[in-house]
Symmetry: C2
Subunit: 237 residues, 2 copies
């Protein structure tokens, strides 16, 4: 008797999370409870509970008597998120370098190896997974679950952007070099170096992402004039 039933509410959460991440529900879109009931086949109370959880995660915004809408992210908010990410991921790398076990360092090297494989032209698609795995090892080894949970929360917020448009291709090689530097510093048991490499990586990513976001906001601000269909911009990391 396989247990696929992980609480209807939770299933609804996952469903909505994926729908938002995949762009099926666009940013700013209104979510009507009744429609979600029909869409998922569950009743309103369960839907509402799920919506509360997603609101707490920052994935949707609920204003009283106006209902939930898919959260959108502005350039200023993104800047702030990247600033916090730099702090926390830098700390994670530093602490990993300081007190990870040799076995954990081995895991990190393996994860990086997988990541490199995933970047090769053929095997695209699992790149996001490989990156997640790498960071999973890093966060597990830094001995701070709080950092991991906060970062997870921030990640879902920026992911709202990401799925709409995947990582920029031309940034990938640079990104890999930066990550390799983090790994190198960690293997050398150099906490400060690892932190700085990690921060540098995030700051680079932030620069690209914020640039893209800023353009998008400008485009959105003046829609009637220039119909110049720009090639779809991509956000990194």
């Amino acid at each position: 008797m396989p247990r696929e039933s992980a609480s209807l509410r939770h299933q609804v959460e996952d469903f909505l999370r994926k729908a938002i991440a995949s762009g099926q529900f666009q940013a700013g879109q209104k979510l009507i409870e009744r429609e979600l009931c029909e869409l998922t086949g569950v009743s309103r109370p369960s839907i509402r509970e799920a919506l509360r959880c997603l609101e707490a995660e920052g994935l949707i915004v609920i204003v009283p008597h106006r209902g939930p809408t898919v959260a959108s992210i502005g350039v200023e908010e993104a800047r702030q998120i990247y600033a916090v990410r730099a702090l926390l991921e830098g700390y994670a790398a530093q602490e990993f370098a300081r007190l990870a076990t040799p076995e954990q360092i081995g895991q990190l090297e393996a994860a990086f190896s997988d990541l490199e494989k995933a970047t090769r032209p053929r095997s695209r698609g699992s790149l996001a997974d490989a990156k997640a795995a790498f960071y999973g090892v890093l966060l597990a080894g830094c001995r701070n679950d709080i950092v991991a949970s906060v970062l997870a929360g921030l990640h879902t917020r920026v992911n709202v952007l990401r799925m709409t448009s995947m990582s920029r291709k031309d940034r990938l090689p640079t990104s890999m070099i930066e990550i390799r530097e983090i790994l190198t510093r960690i293997v050398a048991r150099d906490p400060d170096g690892a932190r700085e490499a990690s921060i540098a990586h995030i700051e680079h990513a932030a620069r690209v992402a914020l640039d893209v976001l800023a353009r998008r906001e400008i485009d959105a601000a003046l829609p009637p004039t220039t119909k110049t269909r720009r090639a779809p911009r991509r956000t990194p990391d």
Copy 2:
């Protein structure tokens, strides 16, 4: 026509938050939905929504089919929270020193002045408010709402401990000196100094708090032997 109605669910949240913070609901205690209905006079759906929100805040833990319990905090988790607080509050102080307006610096000085008044023997009771006000100014001026919201979340988690036992008296003077140092560095527009002073403050507080917590856990681990009624320990900050 005064508007006291801020969504029943929200009122329930506040009620539970206060009940937990004030120790009316002790850590680890089971919260039964039906009882909360009778206690608050609202129906189960609303109660459940409120519980989901509190769970997301980390104030309660809900395990499937076993119901919600008031979250407790261990010494290891506390250590991690303090580590993150040091990072974020240090960043906030640094950024405040870097780019707060003169007016905001004035507000911070005023808030510190209020804080000093609140520490004087007579006017206890508003000390927590004064401290909150000081940090409110700091977080408003650092230009990063994300930092503020994450810190708010962490704060509610450690507050579960705090209300059980207030700030240690003998630590208060030291604490004020540390905070004054933060202010001094900020007024001097010294970002690095402000960050370091802020981190030092948190680390001192953490040391005391973790010490207290560790004792408490040891006491709890062997209750039958020594009935030595230790003077109630207090947690700082």
